[in-house]
Symmetry: C2
Subunit: 137 residues, 2 copies
Amino acid sequence: MSKQSRRSFLAKSTALAVAATLPFKNTEAMSKSNSPLVHHVFFWLKNPGSKADQQKLIEGVKTLAKIESIRALHVGIPADTEKRPVVDSSYDVSELIFFDDLAGQSAYQEHPIHKKFAAEYSYLWEKVIVYDSMTVK
Amino acid sequence: MSKQSRRSFLAKSTALAVAATLPFKNTEAMSKSNSPLVHHVFFWLKNPGSKADQQKLIEGVKTLAKIESIRALHVGIPADTEKRPVVDSSYDVSELIFFDDLAGQSAYQEHPIHKKFAAEYSYLWEKVIVYDSMTVK
């Protein structure tokens, strides 16, 4: 086994060991720094005061987790940080996804689970802003 | 050693093993799913066409990595994803940080390294938007 293969083998087997011992999913724990494409979506609800609609949308975003090219998914709501003029806390739900590359993001956009999500949940939101960033080393 | 301690010991020692074998920093690889507070900042340069200013700001954002409460830091630029009306790719640099909690984010805001960053690099940007999200389980 070459030094390179051995390193790769060690990394993979250790990653599996971590997945087995740490109290969170492999996709969440392991892959982010290998997944430089950051896809962050902010949703503004049609009924911004509605906790029920917010909860429904959170559930909807969570259905996306089954899409194979997603390396990590964080569903969020505005955090209770200090109110400053530069902080936009007017959105209702955020969806932060890490992909390995542009192809992973495209596959996600075209995936039946993503299309089902849009078809079933888009009635909830009034506005969406998406930021796609490529991590620089 | 109790089952709980043993699991914790295994997790910690395996995490160290991963940090030693994988080609990225421990903070990047291991801690995100334990760090639910997502702080995402988008910067628009005064000279949006300037690659030099973009590079300078990227270097500036990277200085933040030494702040103790930061669990992961991704510095990014707009990704070359499909141009869609909902995608805002007009910013020049993005800064994505994970914290454990609100206290970690406050400590970051008040940290001398953060204040030095603002003092030394803010002349580069015209506009900033910050989104703080708390991950929901």
